[in-house]
């Protein structure tokens, strides 16, 4: 079976990455922003696995790294959700534009 070329996978991960970045900047809903950061992290995961498979097929470092990233992402999500819930209780909204009082 013919393999998918590496370039295709990299294009996929780039698209995911920039979708994430765009989402992070454009979306006003904090939950959507959080999901965008997940997209960014997953694009990185795809890169790790792809490079692992195509360049060093007999090693597993890339796999391990993506496992680590998934774990860290899970922790990050729980933390971010906690922050968002607290903000919601305080401001009665999850719109990032409305929570601008937390400065100096």
């Amino acid at each position: 079976m013919e393999q998918v070329p590496l370039v295709h996978i990299l294009i996929l991960s780039s698209i995911l990455f920039f979708l994430g970045v765009y989402g992070f900047f454009a979306r006003r809903n904090m939950l959507m922003m959080l999901m965008s950061t997940e997209l960014i992290l997953n694009s990185v995961n795809i890169n790790f696995i792809a490079f692992n498979k195509y360049l060093f097929p007999h090693q597993l470092e890339g796999m391990f790294f993506s496992m680590f990233i998934i774990t860290v992402a899970a922790g990050e999500v729980s933390l971010a959700i906690a922050i968002i819930i607290n903000l919601y209780r305080r401001f009665k909204t999850v719109d990032v534009e409305d929570t601008t009082t937390m400065k100096y």
Binding site: F25, M33, V96, T99, T100, T101, K103
Partner: protein
């Protein structure tokens, strides 16, 4: 060394400091009588222990082969800076420190007793006793110091306790001013002391007294050689170092021209004047010179001459002022200055070795006897002030019926200080004048003149207080009755001091205290005893003629003396000179320019930098908008910048 000195010495030093901590922490939570009893009990125990230590030292085991040993009971490393430089704390016993232990603990105990009545009903009675304990601790620590740095530490501690006690009546502006004056003048002198310590100990390579004396009191040792080699204005480095140390001693002992603080220090409670400003702290300077005496005598006789002349000038100068003062405590204060100066010049004329070191023994003998009779004089003056509610002679006269015990103690103390044969001061002053006669004829002449003046002003004081007028009627609520029935503890202290004063003169002092630790016989020269006794009796006779009954002769004499009397009455304008130098010269020429530089240049540098920071941050604080996505934009731009840098930098 069978006798174990460790436990008694620990108790002697630590009981007063524990009492201080307890009393000052307890403060008003305990009643005045508990505080007073604590102080008196502690001091009684300390006194008994001091006598015990002194007995053991002088009669049981201090003497080895006819020489009193320096015993370092403790000598523990306290601060270690390097292998060669460490500061120790410890306890050293030698004849002079043991002698001082007795003086300090006994007088302090008497003062504690006396204050029970004298300070009765005062606000802050508890703190008063706390300060007394602090002072006693510091003074005891000073005399038993093993090294010069430990001495310096305790030297400053006695300065602090003196400051606290002079300013005890802190609502009185004059007391505050006096406390500040005492602190500043002695601190100024202590600068000399500190420089002297640094100079001498650095060259001697040690702070320890015993080692320092061993190294420097031997002109052939390499340490002494190097210090004697350097020369500045005709004197060796060692002499300069010792003179600097002596400046510290002169400040504490109120030698001319640093004497100005002592008369003002009389603003403190009278028992404090008796303890600190008559018997113990002010003789610390004499003690300091005596402690380093072998170095002075053997390696730096020129510095010792300076000590002698400073002493002689001060003795005469203070005695003349004492004749003109009308505040009885100030008369006593100048008398103290004069008597301490006697001790100083006695050290100054002393030499090294058996017969020649007569002056050393005489000085410390006088220190010893003076402590008792001068403390008694102050306590007597305190009793008078307590009865009359005034310090001025004007308000006194004819008090001998009203205050019989005070009268007796005052009379005995005056006889002692005037050097009347059979009383304490006669014996010690005789040794001093004999030493001066053999050492330096000019100093002898000054000393002789001064002892005549001493007798005159002391009996002027005595007659003015207890005779002069007929007993006046109706002083306060006590009226004409015997005032002393209300003050049993004061009477007890005075009676104990009378006994002590009568006894101390007969102690064969030369057997116990001498420059090199060997007993010396103090020679009694009849020919040398006659002149001081004659001038003393003459002084008493003149005082009797002028002041025994109210008459106009004193006024006539003061008028005849005119300008000289006025100058002496105004203390020869020394205070005014100091004020002129400080206010007109130092403040205007140094203080004001320095203040200008500080306000305009230094302050502006700091204010300017602060303003710059404030303006900058004000202008860029808009960047912190609170919008997360704006921050994310900055972050992204930063990442892109770094990425471009990595891509194109090489």
């Amino acid at each position: 060394m069978d006798m174990n000195y460790e436990i008694p010495m620990l108790l002697i030093l630590f009981l007063p400091i524990i009492s201080f901590v307890f009393l000052s922490l307890a403060g008003r939570r305990i009643s005045p009588s508990v505080a007073g009893l604590t102080g008196i009990t502690v001091l009684s125990v300390v006194t008994v222990l001091s006598f015990f230590v002194a007995y053991n030292y002088f009669f049981v085991n201090g003497e080895v082969n006819g020489v009193y040993q320096k015993i370092a009971v403790f000598n523990e490393v306290w601060l270690k800076f390097s292998d060669v430089l460490s500061i120790n704390l410890g306890v050293m016993l030698d004849p002079i420190s043991v002698m001082m232990l007795i003086v300090i603990s006994f007088i302090s105990c008497m003062v504690h007793l006396y204050s029970w009545n004298y300070m009765h009903g005062e606000d802050r009675f508890q703190m008063y006793y706390a300060y007394l304990s602090l002072f006693t601790f510091s003074m005891l620590g000073l005399v038993v110091a093993v090294n010069i740095f430990q001495m310096y530490i305790f030297w400053e501690l006695v300065g602090v306790s003196s400051f606290l006690l002079i300013g005890f009546y802190y609502t009185k502006p004059s007391a505050i001013a006096a406390a500040k004056k005492a602190f500043i003048v002695t601190r100024f002198a202590d600068l000399g002391f500190l420089l002297g310590i640094l100079l001498v100990s650095q060259n001697a390579g040690t702070l320890d007294f015993a080692t320092m004396i061993e190294r420097l009191a031997n002109p052939h040792s390499p340490f002494a050689q190097s210090m004697l080699a350097g020369s500045f204005l005709g004197m060796s480095t060692l002499s300069w170092g010792l003179i600097l140390i002596f400046i510290g001693g002169a400040g504490k002992s109120a030698m001319f021209p640093l004497h100005i603080w002592l008369p003002d220090a009389m603003e403190g409670p009278t028992p404090v004047s008796a303890l600190i400003h008559a018997a113990t702290m002010v003789v610390a300077g004499v003690f300091l010179v005596a402690r380093l005496f072998p170095i002075f005598a053997v390696s730096a006789p020129d510095a010792l001459h300076i000590v002698g002349y400073v002493g002689a000038i001060t003795a005469l100068f203070a005695a003349i002022i004492a004749c003109t003062q009308t505040d009885i405590k100030r008369v006593l204060a100048y008398s103290t200055v004069s008597q301490i100066a006697f001790m100083m010049f006695s050290l100054g004329v002393s030499g090294w070795g058996e017969e020649a070191s007569e002056g050393f023994t005489g000085s410390l003998f006088h220190l010893f006897t003076h402590a008792f009779f001068k403390a008694m004089l102050f306590m007597g003056a305190g009793a008078v002030i307590h009865a009359v509610h005034s310090n001025e002679m004007e308000d006194m006269g004819g008090l001998r019926k009203k205050l019989p015990i005070t009268h007796l103690s005052f009379l005995i103390a005056c006889l002692a200080i005037a050097g009347v044969p059979g009383f304490a001061g006669f014996f010690s002053k005789e040794v001093i004048l004999s030493a001066a006669f053999h050492g330096d004829k000019l100093i002898y002449a000054i000393g002789l003149l001064t002892s005549g003046i001493t007798a005159f002003y002391m009996f002027r004081l005595y007659f003015r207080i207890f005779w002069f007028k007929e007993a006046s009627h109706g002083h306060g609520e006590h009226g004409h009755d015997n005032h002393e029935s209300h003050t049993p503890m004061m009477n007890l202290a005075l009676i104990l001091l009378i006994i002590a004063t009568l006894v101390v003169g007969y102690i064969p002092f030369g057997h116990f205290v001498s420059a090199d630790g060997k007993a010396i016989e103090l020679p009694f020269h009849l020919a040398l005893a006659i002149p001081p006794v004659t001038v003393g009796l003459l002084g008493i006779a003149i005082a009797y003629m002028l002041f025994a009954k109210e008459n106009d002769k004193p006024t006539k004499i003061t008028n005849a003396l005119g300008g000289f009397y006025k100058a002496a009455y105004n203390k020869f304008y020394i205070d005014e000179i100091y004020l002129f130098v400080t206010k007109k010269i130092l403040f205007n020429l140094i203080g004001r320019p320095a203040a200008w530089v500080d306000r305009n240049i230094v302050d502006n540098i700091y204010n300017g930098s602060a303003t710059l920071t404030a303006v900058t941050s004000e202008s860029i604080k808009k960047m912190q908008s609170g919008r997360v996505q704006t921050y994310a934009t900055y972050f992204l731009l930063g990442v892109i910048f770094v990425a471009l840098l990595f891509l194109f930098a090489n």
